[in-house]
């Protein structure tokens, strides 16, 4: 989506200016084509953060607001001085006590976290950023698309809107629940590609029938690919889709790609197995000449063995907490897939309360019916290595390594109730 549609605002953190912030969010999000309800949710999130900060920071501090049209979502980013906000308030486990005034004040932040579809927190150069994301609503696939008999002659075509919508309908018809749920919203798939966050390869015949394709989400270094989806009985279409996909990723900032739950059409010889059950395939896009992985001693052996098996050149650097000062609060992000009852936790902030907070997360997620709880530990961030004892105590055990999945490699751990101390 054009960068030109970004709306930026810088304003004093004083209560009197609050309507300017909320008004800007509300109107920008609607101007991006989203509904009033979605716009109000984002405005409410910003209102809570703004009010909280305005009440606690000196009057010369400023808040910078960025509204961004993501095509299939709207994003609002709040930037303000670091440490002005208790990040722990955003945890899904946060609770509010009516007898504690500070706790009541944080209720607004909790509300802010719950009104949006995605929340991100990061800090850089003495500044903290909170990202709120609200997804656009799309109608689902309405009717079954008719099969076609192709005479062949498939070639790679530009992934234009109508072809992408046709592709999504055909994928939904053939693969059903095996395909990611976004395929059931053809308009969303078209917007996901149009905004540039996703890439697509489509092979179509001379009559415009889409016979095969792949889709991928561009991350910082890692692309997550979906497919290959082969929609007619033609040899070689899966291989051609994979090769076209790899050619499009070449000479970009992407370093590697991963395919979770590949389709049965996946040709052999292109990927490496990460999870032994075959559910996660992986491939690097350029030569890997090594990096350092930070790990708690409890995970060092697992990592070294894993790197040996993957032929990955890594220097594993043990990291332990040795009494140095730590932030009082931790924050974890939870990415939920409710239909699959699967949730992935990541560390936003590592503080003193990590062990207790992790236990609370596990308890809360189990109560909500999640049966598969993963933790993605970024070995490129030394502070995250400190989570080793907390993760082990909470029952998380290392399963596999996703190279370059974060700032460094991700160590993927899964929760096993019987392992919890």
């Amino acid at each position: 989506m054009p960068h030109r549609q970004n709306i930026e605002l810088s304003m004093p953190l004083q209560a009197a200016f609050l309507p300017i912030a909320t008004g800007c969010v509300e109107q920008s999000v609607q101007a991006y084509g989203m509904g009033r309800a979605e716009a109000m949710h984002l405005a409410l999130a910003v209102e809570e953060v703004y009010s909280f900060l305005a009440a606690r920071t000196s009057t010369d501090q400023r808040l910078k607001l960025l509204c961004r049209n993501g095509g299939y979502y709207a994003e609002v980013v709040c930037r303000f001085p670091q440490h002005a906000l208790p990040v722990g308030a955003f945890n899904i486990t946060s609770t509010v006590s009516s007898e504690d005034e500070e706790s009541l004040a944080e209720m607004g932040l909790l509300l802010a976290a719950r009104t949006v579809d995605q929340l991100g927190i990061s800090a850089e150069n003495s500044e903290m950023k909170i990202h709120f994301v609200k997804n656009k609503n799309y109608p689902p696939v309405r009717e079954q698309i008719a099969d076609f008999v192709s005479q062949g002659g498939f070639r790679e075509v530009e992934p234009e809107t109508e072809l992408l919508k046709q592709f999504a309908c055909r994928v939904t018809a053939k693969y059903g629940a095996q395909a990611p749920s976004f395929f059931t919203f053809p308009g969303k798939v078209a917007d996901m590609v149009a905004c540039g966050e996703y890439g697509a390869v489509l092979l179509a015949d001379g009559k415009g029938n889409v016979g095969a394709g792949m889709l991928w989400r561009r991350g910082h270094k890692l692309a997550e690919a979906f497919g290959p989806y082969v929609l007619c009985d033609q040899a070689q279409l899966a291989i051609r889709s994979i090769e076209a996909c790899l050619q499009k990723m070449a000479r970009t900032s992407l370093v590697c790609m991963v395919v979770q739950d590949p389709t049965p059409d996946m040709p052999p010889g292109y990927f490496e197995l990460l999870a032994q059950d075959g559910s996660v395939l992986y491939r690097q896009l350029e030569e890997d000449n090594g990096t350092t992985s930070y790990a708690h001693p409890a995970f060092v052996d697992f990592l070294r063995k894993g790197y040996q098996q993957l032929y990955l050149p890594r220097e594993v650097h043990p990291v332990e907490h040795q009494g140095e000062s730590q932030s009082p609060c931790s924050a974890f992000a939870a990415q939920m897939n409710r239909p699959a009852r699967r949730v992935t936790l990541t560390a936003i902030w590592v503080g003193k309360d990590a062990a207790a907070l992790l236990l609370e997360h596990v308890r809360a997620l189990k109560q909500e019916g999640f049966t598969e709880i993963q933790f993605h530990l970024d070995t490129g961030v030394a502070e995250q290595a400190m989570l080793g004892p907390a993760l082990s105590a909470a029952g998380f055990i290392p399963q596999w390594i996703l190279p370059w999945g974060g700032r460094g490699d991700l160590l993927v751990l899964t929760y096993r109730e019987e392992e919890a101390l």
Binding site: H3, Q247, E272, L285, E286, E287, G290, L310, P313
Partner: protein, 373 residues
């Protein structure tokens, strides 16, 4: 007190924000440690395994260390005189650069402005595309033809009013395909002087084929033709970074306006000049080595059932039944460094430099090992 961090999102142009820096491979001592191999055979950069020619080695050894204090000739004066004598052009027809990469940048800077484009192919030396893109110009990538050669018709069709330069790598890196003289002439005739045509002859000294065109002669007839050559490949001076371009004086005069003078050091200039003194013997010796290596490796690959693309140049491309980046790591564990080809848009292929027979034997053995696992 710490000063505010500069606002990179507004300071950095959007075309630079989109680009990731090229990260070169780590030095051998670090790689040996990371991959746990006692020795590394570099077959990734198409270097000449025989090293520089005897005259060039003499020149390098004769360099007076005290001269390191003195600036080099700013425009490689003596080397240009020698090139002029060798190729029968005036010294002002040559610009010497810090490797051929630098002269690519000179040419793009000299001819392109906002909104212009250059044309190259999708599976070739990446630097034309990179320099154009980080300079803010469009790089139009015309797919190679089915025979892995440059597709002249498609390239001509891609030219428009904003096309300034067409880059042709002849022979092509990595496929080893080439345009013969008739085909190159035909292409130049049809361009008809409207665009600059760069023929990159980095690997021309390796070519045995009798119909390979002599770009240095053709540029007399075609004023829009520029020829790139390097001392990094056949002449084995890659560490010194020296290459050059040649063209008609009027065109070269325009390019000279964008040149960074003093970018080529004295040692490189002296070694390059000396390497021209015994070039003929060195070229013959190297071609013999490459030819032996190619014969040996083709036979081994046939035995292993691996397909390959083998044309001109001191390299071959091999198709593997696995990810080329995984093959890279597995081969590195055995001390063999190859170029993985996903970055060249050839997934599951590797490019290997053709070198001495003992090293080719090690490569064949290492390939056998990775296929067995």
């Amino acid at each position: 007190m710490s000063h505010p961090f500069p606002p990179l999102d507004t300071l950095v142009p959007s075309h630079i924000q989109k680009i990731e820096p090229y990260i070169p491979s780590k030095p051998d001592d670090v790689l040996r440690q990371m991959f746990g191999c006692p020795v590394i055979y570099r077959l990734n950069n198409n270097e000449n395994a025989l090293g520089p020619s005897p005259k060039a080695i003499e020149a390098i050894q004769a360099m007076d260390p005290v001269q390191a204090a003195v600036y080099p000739s700013g425009d490689a004066y003596h080397l240009r005189q020698k090139l002029a004598e060798r190729f029968g052009h005036s010294p002002d027809s040559f610009i010497v650069g810090n490797g051929a990469n630098e002269v690519i940048a000179f040419v793009i800077k000299a001819f392109c402005q906002e909104g212009d484009n250059i044309i190259t192919t999708d599976k070739t030396f990446a630097v034309y595309e990179w320099v154009a893109e980080f300079s803010g110009y469009e790089a139009r990538l015309v797919p190679l033809a089915a025979d892995f050669g440059y597709d002249d018709e498609a390239m001509l069709a891609a030219i428009d009013a904003r096309t300034k330069i067409v880059f042709i790598c002849n022979p092509n890196n990595p496929t080893g395909t080439y345009w013969n003289e008739t085909r190159l002439r035909n292409f130049l005739d049809r361009v008809d002087g409207r665009q600059i045509v760069v023929v990159d002859e980095a690997y021309s000294e390796f070519v045995d084929a009798p119909d390979f065109p002599n770009g240095m002669d053709l540029m007399r007839e075609y004023p829009n033709l520029l020829i790139f050559r390097t001392f990094s490949k056949m002449f084995a001076l890659a560490a010194l970074r020296i290459g050059f371009l040649a063209g008609q004086e009027k065109i070269v005069d325009v390019i000279r306006r964008t040149c960074v003078v003093y970018s080529v050091n004295s040692l490189a200039q002296q070694a390059a000049l000396a390497s021209l003194l015994d070039a003929e013997e060195h070229v013959l010796r190297t071609r013999r080595m490459v030819s032996e290596a190619r014969r040996f490796l083709e036979a081994e690959l046939n035995r292993l059932g691996l397909s390959y693309i083998s044309g001109e140049g001191n390299y071959m491309v091999i198709r593997l039944p696995m990810s080329d980046t995984l093959a890279y790591r597995k081969l590195m564990r055995q001390g063999i460094m190859v170029r993985s080809m996903t970055g060249f848009r050839f997934p599951n292929h590797i490019r290997v430099t053709l070198g001495t027979l003992p090293v080719m034997e090690k490569l064949a053995e290492a390939l056998k090992n990775i296929l067995a696992v």
